[in-house]
Assembly symmetry: C2
Homo-oligomer: 282 residues x 2
């Protein structure tokens, strides 16, 4: 791997920032707020920030870059797809549980649901995330989708994955803003009490975590290298190998240039495959 040391340093920083975010969310709810419970009280609401930051931000972030960890490159692509899908499934379950906590808290206290921009965009993010997970499972994990469909959908899968991830972080920042305004009364948020400073720092950490994940996920030279059989390119053709051919297709940007003729049609085709490959985290 090119720049192995730099990759490891960035990964360590990302994990540190991610863990620190989870810890700060726990310090927030246990030291400054009502702790955690499941009884319709503020303790139930507090599951919302903790589970969103743990699942929908941290675990989703790791799921995005899991293909880029060099020590997983000896594992089969199919195993890595299961890990990618599994982490995303855990993140989705935690996000849904965290939403249930808010709805139950609101209903117990007669607070309206779904009135804020935070709730609108948050619900949309969960819906699109579920759709992304379902389509990813159906197209890239199950062996039924034809190769040309996988090639066509991979850039959309990568783009929508990264866009949903960024939207989730933006939604978390709105949630922090809401909660600090509502919860801090005496002293108010505008008086900058220690809780406000701590949670503002948590928000900054979420932005740094998101930026690090997006950097690592978008460096083409940190991609999982093509499988050995990538040298024999079989474009736009269904084969019994299913998922493994897809992995070949989307990873072979470096090798296939040796094999293809340099006609204009081939050049355009290459750009298409490059897009599927270079931006792929799968």
């Amino acid at each position: 791997m090119e720049d192995y040391g730099r990759f490891l340093a960035l990964l360590a920083s990302t994990l540190l920032v991610g863990f620190l975010s989870v810890i700060l969310s726990l310090v927030w709810v246990f030291h400054y707020r009502e702790g955690l419970s499941w009884d319709g009280s503020l303790g139930e609401f507090n599951w919302h920030p903790v589970l969103i930051i743990t699942g929908f931000v941290f675990i989703q972030g790791i799921a995005i870059i899991v293909y880029r960890l060099p020590w997983t490159w000896k594992c089969s692509k199919l195993l890595m797809k299961f890990i990618h899908a599994g982490l995303n499934t855990i993140a989705m379950i935690l996000a849904i549980v965290s939403m249930v906590a808010v709805f139950e808290f609101h209903n117990a206290k007669n607070i309206p649901n779904m009135y804020s921009l935070h709730s609108w965009i948050g619900l949309a993010a969960v819906i699109f995330y579920s759709l992304q997970l379902f389509l990813g499972f159906a197209v890239f994990l199950l062996p039924f989708a034809p190769v040309h469909l996988r090639v066509a959908l991979m850039p959309i899968h990568v783009y929508s994955g990264l866009t949903i991830f960024a939207t989730v972080i933006a939604t978390a920042l709105m949630g922090i803003t809401e909660k600090l305004i509502f919860a801090l009364k005496n002293p108010a948020y505008s008086a900058s009490p220690p809780e406000a400073t701590l949670v503002n720092c948590l928000g900054i950490l979420l932005v740094i975590f998101g930026s690090l994940i997006l950097w690592m996920a978008s460096r083409p030279h940190w991609k999982r290298p093509p499988a050995e059989n990538a040298k024999i390119l079989r474009p736009i053709a269904a084969t019994p190998e299913g998922t493994e051919v897809e992995s070949t297709m989307t990873n072979s940007n470096a090798d296939k240039s040796d094999l293809r003729s340099n006609t204009e049609a081939a050049r355009k085709q290459n750009i298409k495959f490059d897009e599927a490959g270079q931006r792929s985290t799968m």
Copy 2:
């Protein structure tokens, strides 16, 4: 251009969503709020959302995709760099004026400055944006930077440009959340009065606008095609042409594969140039 019709449809949608966002911000401040003035009153504060949405979101978004407009491809790269830098300079000036409006309003009303997460991340975004503009000007517009520096910095320029843009939209969403909670009292935000619904829709439009810009900016086949002289590749060498050579370097991903030998070193070099080229909006 490949998919010319789809590009035009997306561009039209992006412009429509962007214009609609600016119009909704004006409807918000003129129909529901105190209009616009410059006297330390709420009318001065109202310049903040209007100028941020017009300049820091809409104009910045257009600046990001300006290289991708096919009818500009006959213009020189240098002219397009001036337009890119000019639009970003306008966006920065509007962002700074909009911040001055908030500080003056806060000072006139004895409201503390810089206590919220919105203000922390917003100020950081303006500082990083100014730095990005200054470095972009020094490295890519002025003819002094050596080619290898441009090649090395281009992926960072593109990544940080898109990340700052996404952060600006996230900050705008936090600002909308703050303002609706503070301004709506009777009926409150939670009672979903028409103003809340309108401004929530404005927030959704900002997310859609940002998503469309990021999609258009990250499709490699919609890049400005390489200049004719790209066929003669002169890597890692200072030349008197300055900026034009950079444009050659960062746009030649399709053509240079015909010219380079397929040694391992050349392959790695290609990936580096591809990164500079494929992700470039310059």
